[in-house]
Symmetry: C2
Subunit: 242 residues, 2 copies
């Protein structure tokens, strides 16, 4: 069950066979959601946390005037709302971009993990910490990087994160989000997203047909983005870490 999660957690440090076995047989319900379905709403007090199994999910907030800001993307293996285990009331919603399978992990089960499997617990805490690090990096981007750099940076980040769970062979991955989603994530208008995308294509930094994204020269993209993969604590960047 939830193989990408195991894969990712193991990239932080080995888990015992027992821990892996526990994760595999953990009774979590897998749900299938349609395009743009919102499966956790702001204000909810969920009794479970969600792991992305397949597809792409994102957390977001809506402003009074209807504007939307996407706070984070979640690829397979990511816990979307592990913190709802702690802070009951959701202060943002979670929705899927494109089709998506989500595993719902009941909070008591997480409780059991924290009481029984210290190494697994540590891996989960690490994951939360990395989630925070991604937030910080996004904030830097929003405040101080141009639209062009920000988008390049996002593509770099997604590549590294998808590689960890084996979903980006040959520097290529499926980009399941819409241009409007990208805009809401990067703080841009859809029109501008489109133009920046074209610029990136024109300069040969990305190749995309709308569904698939290929990065011909990762080093170069990293350079224009000012991307340093250290904050992801994963392999696949330039610098060895973890």
């Amino acid at each position: 069950m939830i193989n990408p999660l195991i894969q990712k957690l193991e990239s932080y440090g080995a888990l015992s066979d027992e821990e892996k076995a526990f994760l595999k047989r953990a009774p979590s319900e897998i749900r299938d959601y349609r395009v743009h379905e919102e499966f956790v709403r702001e204000g909810d007090c969920p009794g479970e946390s969600c792991v992305v199994v397949e597809g792409l999910a994102f957390r977001f907030k809506i402003l009074p005037d209807g504007k939307r800001q996407i706070l984070a993307f979640h690829v397979p293996g990511d816990f979307c709302d592990l913190h709802s285990f702690l802070l009951k009331r959701m202060d943002h919603g979670i929705a899927v971009a494109g089709r998506c399978k989500i595993a719902a992990v009941p909070h008591p089960l997480i409780q059991e993990i924290t009481e029984t499997y210290p190494r697994l617990t540590r891996a989960l805490m690490w994951d939360v910490a990395i989630d925070g690090a991604i937030f910080r990096e996004w904030m830097v981007g929003m405040g101080r990087r141009s639209a062009y750099q920000r988008m390049a940076h996002l593509f770099c980040e997604l590549l590294v994160r998808l590689k960890v769970v084996g979903l980006a062979e040959n520097d290529t991955y499926e980009l399941l989000s819409t241009q409007s989603d990208l805009g809401d994530a990067l703080g841009l208008s859809t029109v501008h997203v489109n133009r920046v995308l074209q610029q990136l294509r024109a300069e040969g930094l990305i190749v995309s047909d709308g569904k698939t994204l290929m990065i011909p020269d990762f080093e170069k993209l990293k350079e224009v983005a000012g991307f340093d993969p250290a904050y992801l604590h994963a392999r696949g960047g330039a610098s060895p870490s973890s």
Copy 2:
């Protein structure tokens, strides 16, 4: 010792006398820093976490091209880097804005808390969760709010946070940060910060002489900022004083 911390944690829920006593006699060294001194550096692996006792601190990142982004402000009672207890290597620096007193709490002591005082531990985890919520709110601002709204929002946030620790009587508090700091926090140039500040003053939303900030009509400021204090999980939002 570290009274503002106790004050804040108690605002989340009562602590036992024993827990308070423990915090009071906890052997934490208090350090005094000068204006703009950086006391935790990116790349450091500190063996302690820092609590602001007096003044204002902030976490920040520097980009390759020298630009700076401030990720968070920390008022008295805030843990700046509780997460360094978990994730050893700092991916950002921490510095003071204006004069500042900082208490250094050794990690082993935090370990002891988690093993001995469940209610206190829970309060600390809450604090971390709220820290995350503040991050999310900032991100919304950076992506989707105008400079004007963002600044108004920041002033609202600081008012509520400072009230919790008793440092904002009569909707007035000391603004210890420089205009350039504000700019780096809000993703603006200092020039623009200055202009927006003047606009806020002109519209009577704030009164400031450079050191002190007074908010004559909090309700009105909240409205233009689109500020909803719920994310801070503190009292003093809609209702006057704490």
